[in-house]
Symmetry: C2
Subunit: 453 residues, 2 copies
Amino acid sequence: MKKLLIVLLLCSFSSFSQENDSLIIRKIFDEVLSKGEAYKTLTHLSKKIGPRLSGSEGAAKSVLFTKKVMEDYQFDKVFLQDVMVPHWVRGKKEEAFIEVGKQKIIVPIAALGGSVATATTGVKAEVIEVKNFEELKMLGTEKVKGKIVLYNRPMDATKINTFEAYGGAVNQRGGGASEAAKYGAVGAIVRSMTTLNDDNPHTGGMRYATGVPMIPTAAISTNGANLLSKMLKENPKLQFYFKQNCETLPDAPSHNVVGEIKGTEKPEEIIVVGGHLDSWDLAEGAQDDGAGCVQSIEVLRALKALGIKPKRTIRVVMFMNEENGLRGGTKYADLAKQNNEKHIAAIESDNGGFTPRGFGMVGTDTQIAKIVAYKNLLAAYGLNEISKGGGGADIGPLGQQGTLLIGFKPDSQRYFDFHHAKSDTLEAVNERELNLGAASMAALVYLIDKYGL
Amino acid sequence: MKKLLIVLLLCSFSSFSQENDSLIIRKIFDEVLSKGEAYKTLTHLSKKIGPRLSGSEGAAKSVLFTKKVMEDYQFDKVFLQDVMVPHWVRGKKEEAFIEVGKQKIIVPIAALGGSVATATTGVKAEVIEVKNFEELKMLGTEKVKGKIVLYNRPMDATKINTFEAYGGAVNQRGGGASEAAKYGAVGAIVRSMTTLNDDNPHTGGMRYATGVPMIPTAAISTNGANLLSKMLKENPKLQFYFKQNCETLPDAPSHNVVGEIKGTEKPEEIIVVGGHLDSWDLAEGAQDDGAGCVQSIEVLRALKALGIKPKRTIRVVMFMNEENGLRGGTKYADLAKQNNEKHIAAIESDNGGFTPRGFGMVGTDTQIAKIVAYKNLLAAYGLNEISKGGGGADIGPLGQQGTLLIGFKPDSQRYFDFHHAKSDTLEAVNERELNLGAASMAALVYLIDKYGL
C-alpha cells in the first residue's frame, strides 16, 4: 500500500512536472518566434561581415561582433579564448578551361582549402576520370602519370538524409589529391559536393598525406563536371587547364568567443551550446555556420529574457576554425580539462538553420535514454527524431571528458545546395526555420539544466 | 499448439510482408529521387504557362498541358470532366496611396478575388483600423460609416503549424468586406496573410454576404499595413485612396483532368491522388498548387515505371477552381456518385511541395487506424505525423461517400511566404523536397492499393 502510494505520488508529481515543463517550453517557443533576434544578428554577420575563413579579417571582425552582441545582452560573463589557427588564402580567383583543338571552354572551379597553388603559368594536362580510389588504383601509374584526375562520383541523391550522401562522396575531396599523386597525377579536380546541378564550385577542406607530392586540387561545379565527363567520352585526349594562386601562410592568432550565465545551484556543471564562427571564403556563411552561432546566442538571450535562472552554468560558444583545422574545438576541450571543468552536455548546431527534426547524440546509453525520454515534450514542435548518433565536430573533443554530445538535427534537404558555395547567403535562411531551431535548442538546454544528466 | 503455430505463421508472414513492402517503398523513393520528372513538369507549368486563375487562358492551357503529359506517360485512360467555373478578372493593376496633407505614399495592394471594382475614380476616405469583427461591432455605424476599414490582425507567428495561424486570421479576408459594409464602410483593406514583413500583397478569395452592399476589398502588403497603422496613430484623419478594376464575368467552361491506371483485381475500387490546377492570377502558382499537381502525376508515373500493377484503380486528378469556387472538386464527387463509383481513399497535396512530415486524415477511426499502422514503414522517410485531422478542399466533397480523405502534410514553415503572392514562383520550390513529397504519396498509394481499407 505504501509502495503504491509512493508510486502514485511519484506519478502525479511527474505529470505535474511535465505539465509545468510543457508550459515553459511553450513560453520559450513563443519568445523566440515572436521576439527572436537571431535573424537580425545573422543579417549583420552575413551582410556586414561576410566571409570568415580562419585568419581572415572577416573572422577577426566576427569575434569582436559576437562578443559585443553577448555583452549587450549582459550575459554574466563574456570572454575570448586564444587559439592559433591555420591561415590559408585563396589569392586571385582561379581560372580553368577545357581545351579541344582550338576550342576553349571555361568552367567554374575553386581551389580546395589547404591546396597548394599551381605553377604561376597554371597546369595543363590530359584528364583521367574516376569514380573512386579503387578505380584509380586499377588504372595505376601507367594510366594516371602526368594527368589530371577528375573525381566524379556524385552524392547519392537517393539518400533521404543528405549528410549520408555527403559522407559517401567527401573522401574524394578530402583525400583525392594525395591518392592521385601516388600514381603521378599532376592535379586533382573534384566534383562539387552537392546534389544540385549548378554552376557554383563548392569548396571545402582537404589534407595532404605525408610522403607523396602535394599536387594542386580544386572543386569543379557539378555542371562543369558533367560537361567535362561528357566531352571526355568524345575526346579522351582533351586537355584541361587550371591555375590557382592559393597559399598557406603562418598560423594566425584568433579566438573562441564564450558567453555564459552562471548556474544558481550547481554552477560547476556546465552545459555548452554552440556553433562555429569561421566560414569558407566564398560565401557569407549564413547557413554554415552563421545560423548555428546566432541560434546559440539566441538560446541564452531567450532564457534570460524569460527570467529563467538556470541551476547549472549555460555557456554559448562560438568555436573558431571548424572548417580547416578544428583548432577552436580542440582548444576549448583542452582548457576545460586544464581548468577541471565539468561539462555535462554540449549541443552543437552546424547542420544549417532549417526546420527542426530532432537531436542526434553520442554518449552513454544512460545519458541518451534521459534525453530520449523528453520526446513527448518535444514532439509537438516537430522534434520527432531524438536518437543515438550525431554530435558535432567542434564539441567532439569534449567527448573524452564524458560529456554528452548532442547535434541539433534540422531538415537536411536544402543544406548542400548552399554548402561551401557562394550561394550560402542570408537569403538561403528562412527566419521562422532559424527561430524554431533556436527555440528547440533552448528547450533542450532548459530540460538538461533542470534535470541534469 | 496449432493456435501457436498459426500465430507464428501469421507473424512470420506479416514480418515478411513488411520487409517486402519496405523494399518496394525504398524502390519508389529511389525512382522518384533519381529519375523523378515532377520538377520538369512544374517548370513548364510555372514558366511556360504561369498564372492559371479559373476561366483564364492559363487555366485552359494547363488543362491541355497536363492532359498531354499524362497521355505521353501512356496511362490507361486520360480524360476531361466538364465543369463551369467562376470567371473573375483583375483588370488593370490596382493603385493605392496614403494621403496626409500634400504627401502621398504609394502602398502595394491587390484586389481580393471576387471583389467588385471601385468607382472608376477610385475611393478615398478616412481609415478605421480593427483587429477583428468584435472590435468592428463595438465601433458600430457611428465610427465606421463612410470610412475604409483596415483589418490588421496578423497571423500568429507563435503557432508552430502556419496553417493554424492562417486559420486564425483568414476570416478578415473572406468575410471582412461584408462585415464592414454592415456598418456603412465604403471599402475594406486587409493585411496580407503571411508572417513575413514584405512588400507583396497576398490575394485570395472573399465572399459577399447577402443583404449588405458589396464594397470593394483588397489585400495590402504587411509592410504597407504596418506603415498605414503607424501613420494612423499619428494622423487619425489621414485619407486612404484605392482604385481597382476587377469584375466578375459570366461563368466559363473548364475541366478537371483525370488520368488513371486500371486495377487488376478490384478495378471498381478507386484511389484518388490529386491537386488543383488553378492558381491565383498574380503568381506562377508553383507551390499553390502546381506542386500538388505534378506530384500527383509523378505518383502514377513512378508506379508505372517500376512495373507495379495496382490491384485497384489509381486515379490522378487535376481539380479545377479550388481557389474561388471549388467547382471542380464538387463536380468530381457529383460524377462519382452519379456513376456509382466506389472511392476508397483520396489523397490531396495542396500545402506546398516542402519536405514531408506526414499525412492528416478525415474518416472513420477504423480507416484512420489502418493508415496509422503504416507509420513504422514510413517514419524512415521523415513521415512522423500520421494522424487524424486534415484532408483537402478538393477531395472534401467525396467525404459524404465514405471515402477516407487524406491530406499530404509537408513542412509548413515557408508556405505563407509565397502563398497567393507574386513570389510563388518555381524558385520557391526545391526539387528534392518536391520529389520526397511525390514519393511519400506514391508509397501510401502503394500500401492502400495493396491492403485496401
